[in-house]
């Protein structure tokens, strides 16, 4: 994390810690969906780790044993307890749906390209090589069947709306993380256990797609 702000090739914490890729592949190719996507989130991931904090304390000359640092660590413990599990789950679902959506689309594009090429050759074959028409027709049918297979395999799942929804929730949870950490409103209005409880309620509301400022959420504190 030491180079997080200066290393321009690193993705932000919201998108997960993706290591820098040294590759000669063109950029558009590098953004292709992954075919071996992780089947569960990385549960060790933290938006700000203990070592990140230590580094900042050292860099900015704060006293590591001061009450301010202790209070900050307590707040980070609360965040790791109340918010981070939800963030990890939602962020992972957003990324998985994004990957699936792009996978389906790229598959369709490739099949459509193949279908167009074969279709064009079929028309050309009519004039010059009629013996190839049957073979090309068979290939065309295989492409149609493959497309149907992919569409059927996906079922009724809609990765696009799920991706957008989960990404929105993950980003909102990330903002909530920093809101709590900087003690911004509404956390500056209460103390102690109530403050931690409010964080849990607001994070839960965000995860459910509800307004964290609603009376039904804040009224529970």
């Amino acid at each position: 994390m030491a180079t997080q702000t200066t290393n321009q090739t690193q993705q932000p914490k919201t998108a997960g810690t993706v290591p820098k890729r040294q590759s000669m592949r063109p950029e558009w190719w590098r953004q292709f969906p992954k075919w071996n996507f992780a089947d569960k989130p990385d549960e060790t991931f933290q938006l700000i780790s203990e070592s990140d904090l230590q580094e900042l304390i050292k860099e900015k000359g704060f006293d590591a044993n001061s009450p301010a640092v202790q209070r900050l660590k307590e707040d980070m413990d609360v965040l790791n307890e109340e918010l981070m599990p939800l963030f990890l789950k939602v962020d992972y679902r957003a990324k998985r749906n994004q990957n699936q959506y792009r996978q389906y689309q790229v598959n369709y594009f490739l099949l459509a390209t193949a279908a167009t090429v074969i279709g064009s050759f079929q028309v050309a074959a009519l004039q010059v090589a009629q013996e190839w028409i049957l073979v090309l027709g068979l290939l065309e049918t295989v492409i149609a069947l493959l497309t149907t297979y992919i569409a059927t395999r996906r079922g009724n799942r809609q990765p696009l709306p799920e991706w957008l929804e989960k990404r929105r929730h993950a980003e909102q949870l990330r903002r909530e993380y920093f809101r709590f950490l900087t003690d911004a409103e509404p956390y500056n209005l209460i103390d102690g256990a109530k403050r931690a409880r409010l964080l849990g309620l607001r994070a839960g509301a965000i995860n459910l797609g509800k307004d964290p400022n609603a009376e039904t959420v804040t009224g529970g504190v």
Binding site: E27, W28, L53, F62, T141, A144, R154, A184
Partner: protein, 223 residues
């Protein structure tokens, strides 16, 4: 929190500045750079494909007109005529293949929306840089410092929220893939349990229609 003192706010400001604002700025810069590169590469590929398609079509037309209309062998050697024939066939194949590959890259650009992302993230970057100017200053008294810290934090979080909303609008499902799946399902449905299906395998009618259609085609559903 009642028990916060100045060092609490200063520490939390530093943390927010580094891991929220600067981290987000770095992400915007990186995404803009990657999107610009990807868009430029794909546009170059599309332009090159269009150029070579045109050249191949022109070569096929000129060579066919010059050597293959009429009796080529009367004025040239059989090897030369054969070579010209292969040049025409090769050019025709290229002029068929390249537009299809070009369509793939157009679909890719629609899917990733690189050019639109550049606009969104450039604007978010400018706004975040402005929000950074609201940072509290060391010389300020505690009350002013805390008020400025909250203004800075809320301003930054609002910009990040606005960017997320705009980004969501940028992501749209490419229409061409929906249409393609619809047509493929229609075609594939002809081979599910129809004993006479083999008769249609050629797809192309004698009139050269490359799309399969039949009055018996079943209705399709949305993907």
């Amino acid at each position: 929190m009642a028990d916060f003192d100045r060092s609490d706010f200063e520490l939390r400001y530093e943390l927010f500045d580094k891991y929220a604002l600067k981290d987000q700025l770095a992400y915007y810069e990186r995404t803009v750079e990657r999107s610009e590169t990807a868009a430029s590469q794909v546009n170059s590929i599309r332009a090159a494909l269009a150029l070579f398609t045109g050249l191949a079509s022109a070569i096929a037309a000129v060579v066919a007109q010059a050597y293959l209309v009429g009796d080529c062998a009367a004025n040239n050697s059989p090897q030369f005529c054969s070579a010209m024939n292969w040049i025409v066939i090769g050019s025709v194949i290229i002029s068929i293949l390249l537009p299809a590959v070009g369509a793939f890259f157009s679909s890719l650009a629609d899917l990733y929306q690189w050019e639109r992302l550049v606009t969104i993230y450039n604007s978010a970057q400018d706004n975040l840089e402005y929000a950074d100017k609201l940072s509290p200053r060391e010389q300020e008294d505690l009350e002013t410092y805390v008020a400025n810290l909250y203004a800075y934090v809320n301003g930054t979080l609002d910009i990040m929220q606005a960017e997320t909303a705009q980004w969501g609008q940028a992501v749209q499902k490419p229409k061409q893939s929906e249409e393609f799946v619809k047509e493929a399902k229609l075609r594939a449905a002809k081979y599910s349990g129809d004993a006479n299906a083999w008769q249609d395998i050629g797809f192309v009618s004698k009139e050269g229609d490359s799309t399969a259609s039949s009055p018996a085609d079943p209705p399709t559903t949305e993907i």
